[in-house]
């Protein structure tokens, strides 16, 4: 065992590090004040162009599509090095991570020609329009419909949980084109112009108070058939390309989320009726349990990197990541707030460590749902990793328009 880079990886890392030292020099310090996503667009574009010129975009993409044709390990190494700076990278993450790979896997040559390079260069921002109010865990239950009209399709419906919809130029959207087919079979995917008439993005406020997502309403939005991705009725299969990429992206602990160190620091400051909190057995056990989850997931990711670094596929153990991270966050935060008595409840005042934990208590309730609920992820582990049978699916072969409404 060896935690060091292979010689090849080390060389790539050294090169990237050297390049970033100059190119990302302006991003060495965090921004002086929080910057909204909207404000960040020009800066994000600028940084994407700089990286593109230097060959640090589309690292794993085929060269034919403007990529670098390198391995996932190279991409991870670059991201590790880039993350030491405060460069704005979020705006393009979904477009380049999920949407454009779907475009170049399933799109016509004309679509690839038109869209891929512009996205890679940071000219155009993309979003992913999949979830709907009645199609969450059961994504194939979507109702947004697209009806053929001459050379066009007309889209009506509503999408939800769409990141960056209000900042996007284009989106990939899954629609129902044949309501008389079984639910997985009547779907078709398109590229939609987010500036087209009839598209309206509204911010969606979360329980925690933030608005990281949008609802997007489609009313008579026309899309040319030339903007179809994959065959009519193949939308489910096409969307799996996108989701496979999402599952890789979602999972690790959110960068800003508190962990066992925060609990240790908090417990070290608290004096209970029975002495310092950090000395209490239940507190120490909670720290240990949290460490085991936090560090266990980090180490599990190292196992994946190790496989990638050897040119192998990561093992199925990656699938445990999000379900562990989300519930651990919620449990640790609840424990910390309990331990903090009154100060764990008031949000005014001066303990940033505690406010981070309060934020985590609110956010973790969402993290247990986003990108696959605890229950769906357990199903996936049991079925795909352990080979247990799937749930009963009475609606699998029923025409969608005969399935009783929710």
């Amino acid at each position: 065992m060896d935690f060091n880079d292979t010689p090849d990886d080390a060389e790539y890392r050294a090169k990237a590090r050297a390049w970033l030292a100059t190119a990302a020099a302006d991003y060495r310090d965090p921004p002086a004040r929080p910057v909204s996503r909207g404000e960040n667009v020009p800066e994000s574009r600028k940084w994407q162009k700089i990286k593109h010129a230097a060959g640090y975009t589309g690292i794993t993409w085929p060269k034919a599509f403007g990529g670098q044709g390198l391995s996932p390990m190279h991409s991870i190494i670059f991201n590790q090095e880039q993350s030491k700076y405060h460069a704005p990278t979020e705006l393009f993450a979904i477009g380049l991570g999920m949407c454009i790979p779907t475009v170049f896997t399933h799109g016509s040559p004309a679509l690839i020609e038109r869209y891929v390079a512009k996205a890679l260069e940071g000219e155009e921002v993309w979003c992913q329009l999949f979830s709907e109010p009645s199609a969450g865990s059961d994504l194939a239950g979507i109702r947004t419909k697209a009806v053929r009209d001459g050379d066009d399709w007309v889209i009506d419906g509503q999408k939800v949980w769409t990141t960056n919809a209000h900042l996007s130029d284009f989106g990939i959207i899954v629609t129902r084109t044949d309501p008389s087919a079984p639910k997985h079979k009547g779907l078709t995917m398109f590229i939609v112009d987010m500036h087209a008439p009839g598209v309206e993005a509204r911010p969606l406020k979360q329980m925690s108070g933030g608005s990281d997502f949008n609802e997007v309403f489609f009313t008579g939005v026309r899309v040319s058939d030339s903007h179809r991705l994959g065959a009519v009725g193949d939308g489910w299969k096409v969307s799996l390309t996108t989701l496979m990429n999402e599952r890789l992206a979602v999972g690790g602990k959110p960068g800003h989320a508190p962990g066992y160190r925060d609990l240790m620091a908090l417990a070290a400051r608290i004096e209970t009726d029975m002495g310092p909190a950090i000395e209490a057995r239940d507190v120490r056990q909670r720290i240990a349990v949290t460490y085991i989850a936090d560090e266990g997931i980090r180490l599990t990711q190292m196992r994946a990197l190790s496989a990638l670094s050897k040119g192998e596929a990561p093992g199925p153990e990656q699938s445990i990541s999000k379900v562990v991270v989300a519930k651990t966050m919620q449990e640790m935060a609840a424990f910390a707030l309990d331990l903090s008595e009154a100060s764990g409840f008031t949000t005014a005042g001066g303990d940033p460590g505690l406010h981070k934990l309060q934020g985590s208590y609110m956010a973790s309730a969402g993290l247990r749902i986003a990108g696959g609920t605890d229950e769906i992820l357990r199903n996936i582990i049991a079925e795909r990793v352990l080979g247990l049978p799937g749930d009963m699916r009475p609606d699998k072969d029923t025409p969608f328009n005969e399935i009783r409404a929710a």
Binding site: D273, D338, S340, G366, D395
Partner: protein
Amino acid sequence: MDFDFSDDAKALREQARKFFDERAGPAVARASMNGTASFDAALWQAVVDLGWTAARVPEAHGGVGMSSEAACVLAEEAGRSLAPIPLAQALAATEALIALGTPEQQARWLPGIADGSVVAVTGWAEGGTASPAKASAKVDGGAINGTKSPIADLAAATMAIVSAAGPDGPALYIVDLKGEGVGVAPVDTLDLVRRHGTLTLSGAAADPLGTTAGYHDWLDRAAILGSFEAMGTATAAMDMAVAYAKERTAFGQKIGRYQGIKHKCADMYIKLELARAHALHAAWAMEAGAAELRQAASAARVASLDALAFAAEENVQIHGGIGFTWESDCQFYYRRNRALVAALGSRNFWADRLVRSLEQRNAAAA
């Protein structure tokens, strides 16, 4: 044997449930959250008019003179409905005055609580990480100095019963909030519906209400009322989750058909019924003045906090994405969970208190 509420208390519970079903609930909580008022004054006036603040007050002081069971059922229904009114506070303050007040103190304050002219709150916390076993506020020559925070419903209150360091440990003191040396300011908390405040006392007049033993006795009684409130809130969260599980379809089935969801709902019910058994026991101990009061109150508090935390957290989970939106009512229970923990000291404080009372019982039996 009759291990259940009296018919009077049950009738009051039915009346309260019917009233709050019509006049309170998540929509009213949301309106209160979105507004600027510190509570729903019209709703409060209606509750006063129904005589609920008078329920426990002895007839001699203008009240109805019901047993403490009345306070329990009112607390539960207020908790269920999320009613944005200072009822839980009024009940806790009333209990303190009845149990610990001198005839003069009772005569001064109880008639006002009964007729609504006095809005009473209670407060032990001092903003830090100390448990209810501690108080730093100091009383010297009848004048109190210190900061009590957060206090629920403080903004509208006219009197407060607060803890301060007495000669043998924390004890309760009555402060007239219209007097000198009293500062009241809002304080933000995780609960956006029930508004809290910080009470700054700079030499305000403090009228002692019982001893340290009395303070601890009151803590037990307040914990019992708090348990009923928490059970009411937990029941509402469970009902919301169960209703959604019956209505929402995924993968061609109502989600309530999946054991992943179904067993979660069963666990909510299990925790709630354990809490209910202890709360009923505690209600009996309170009314009977039984030796088991501390033990029963502590168990009821721990069990009800467990039931509420689980129901509030898993209600969001069962709702999925929609449950995490601002527009969903799930947040009210999730946030209120934190408020009810903070209201009287955390699970750990009460678990320890429970074991201590069991140890004392064992020692006495030995």
